[in-house]
Amino acid sequence: MKHIKKISFWFLVLFLLILICLPGIWIFVSAFRPNPEILSKPANWIPDRWTIHQFTQMFSINGYVSVPAFKYLMNSIIISSVSTVIAITIGMMGGYAFARFNFRGKNKIFLGLMLARAVPGISLSLPLFILFAKLGIINTSFGVILVYVAMNVPFTIWLTDGFFRQIPKEMSEVARTDGCTRLQAFWNVELPLAGPGIGAAAIFAFLLSWNEYALASIITRTVHSKTLPIGMMDYLDEFTINWAGMCAIAVVMIVPALILTFIVQKHLVSGLTFGGVKG
């Protein structure tokens, strides 16, 4: 009886796992097979023929480019990286300030930042579109970076604030009596201790920018600024949809995100501050 219970439990787990992973697996499989096979009925689960045609075409190895995926990839990398670096730099300083200093209106400002996160991004799309159009930064990487920084700063502040709070304030105090300026104490002691946390916050911010679709679809127009999620829509023609191409570009998007997620997972388990204080 006990065995049956155990076996049925694991079957349930397996079933749920397949259910969750199926769309992902389908995308991976479809990226490596010809388009007609994707549409075959009944569904062909294991491809008859494997091909990297979509990838070679996407990255224009044959000289013919239907969708400039490489340009989109570069846009995505530049926009996500730059916005992440800016957001984490500002967020880190903000988080440190919230964790360490007392100033007038501290709680209200913090609440305001959190409320900003609660506003659905898409509701800002029209005002943003008009504003950016008037400023002349529509359809530029700069414009997208600006939006992503604004989107990520409250989030990184919130995360890094928590990480800095975990570090006893005596750490910086003892560093300061050890001859450090406040900045040196931050740089030599608090930053290394909060490092894994800040890294995790940065990766979260990067992933948010990397995957963002709604706002980018409004403020990017051409190959100059389009990111991968928006570029994916290039496979939608008036009469046909290139499913295989779409799946291939999705794979290009998913792989870095997957790798980074694994890194975050590892870094979030941080017991680094243990031992510095009583224990």
């Binding site: 006893p168 009596t177 201790l193 510095g276 009583k278 224990g279």
Partner: protein, 365 residues
């Protein structure tokens, strides 16, 4: 090695006064202990000296230099914290050498000074370890080592032994005392533990609610407490405080404790009590001695009480009884079996009784 001077030092948090008009000179090589209950302002004072807390008023001089506006790093004092605050990402060696590295001291010099500190504190085996691999006592030693290598003008200790277990605390206490004798540095030490204060200090400062209650050598504050607060704070068990009415009877002054106990006022204090109706008597537990006499007639300050509780401690037994619903403790040396309810004759050593004013709670005599 320097003199530290505080002039009218004041710290306020909004309306709350943490330290009020503190005036104090800590001389070169002195071991000064600030002691008091939590919230009395002792740690705040220390943090103000270190520069970690802004001051609301007054002046701080270290080595005759005004340091009010100076950053902690420019004051050349080292602080040891209660929770050690070792840098967890550095080894013991790196922890010790960190301040010198920041000060851009030459590498050979850093190595030499770290080696010296490691030797003084017996940390040779642990040089390459991270703080998480050390025990509490070892961490405390590293924290002290980190303070030593800088060769500061003064050491500031903020309850450094509070996180250690009782046995280790006693051991580290001795080590700190030895260290002071070896290094001959000014030490300002904050604790709430009066035993630590008594054993370590050259001079003790007892604080309460931001004010200094008394300054003096350990023996001084023990034998001549300035008021009831100091009397009950210093010494273990705390001094017994008993209320008494002053009664005039046939040209004699009698101190009436309760219906059974009427004590004749000693000659030397009579003049001080003449215009008072009420006083507090402070008597240490060892000065209320159980006596094997049948005399409990109040002459020679003898009386009889039945025991509520007896706590044998080996070398002594503490006897608890009540006077006017207040618990009184007596120390019985040469212990013998005592049962609850036993009637015991006690004698108070009238030469050692402290008299406090009923209104001001200050010592009368």
């Amino acid at each position: 090695m320097a003199k530290v001077e505080l002039k009218n030092l004041t710290k306020k948090y909004g309306e709350v006064i943490a330290v009020q008009n503190m005036n104090l000179t800590i001389s070169d090589n002195e071991f000064l202990v600030l002691v008091g209950p939590s919230g009395c302002g002792k740690s705040t004072t220390l943090r103000m000296i270190a520069g970690l807390e802004e001051i609301s008023g007054g002046e701080i001089f270290i080595r005759d230099q005004l340091v009010n506006e100076k950053d902690p790093k420019d004051r050349n004092v080292s602080m040891v914290f209660q929770n050690y605050a070792l840098y967890p990402h550095m080894t013991v060696e790196e922890n010790l050498g960190f301040s010198l590295k920041i000060a851009k001291v030459e590498k050979e010099e850093i190595e030499k000074r770290v080696r010296d500190a490691v030797q003084i504190l017996g940390l040779e085996e642990l040089r390459k370890r991270k703080p998480s691999q050390l025990s509490g006592g070892q961490r405390q030693r590293v924290a002290m080592g980190r303070a030593i290598v800088r060769r500061p003008d003064a050491f500031l200790f903020d309850e450094p032994l509070s996180n250690l277990d009782a046995k280790l605390r006693t051991q580290m206490r001795t080590e700190i005392k030895k260290l002071h004798q070896k290094l001959k540095t000014t030490i300002i030490y904050v604790t709430h533990d009066q035993v630590e204060a008594m054993t370590l200090a050259d001079r003790i400062i007892i604080m309460k609610d931001g004010y200094i209650e008394q300054i003096g050598s350990p023996i001084e504050v023990f034998t001549k407490p300035a008021n009831i607060f100091v009397a009950t704070f210093i010494g273990s068990p705390p001094m017994n405080i008993i209320e008494g009415d002053v009664i005039r009877k046939e040209n004699k002054l009698i101190i009436k404790i309760d219906d059974e106990i009427n004590l004749e006022c000693p000659q030397k204090i009579q003049s001080s009590l003449e215009n008072k109706n009420k006083i507090y008597l402070g008597i240490r537990a060892e000065d209320i001695m159980p006596k094997e006499t049948s005399d409990y007639t109040n002459s020679n300050w003898c009386f009889q009480k039945s025991i509520n509780l007896a706590e044998p401690l080996g070398t002594e037994t503490q006897l608890f009884f009540t006077i006017k619903n207040k618990e009184i403790i007596s120390r019985m040396y040469n212990p013998k079996d005592v049962k609850v309810g036993d009637k015991i004759n006690f004698q108070i050593d009238s030469n050692k009784v402290h008299f406090f004013d009923a209104e001001t709670e200050k010592t009368i005599f």
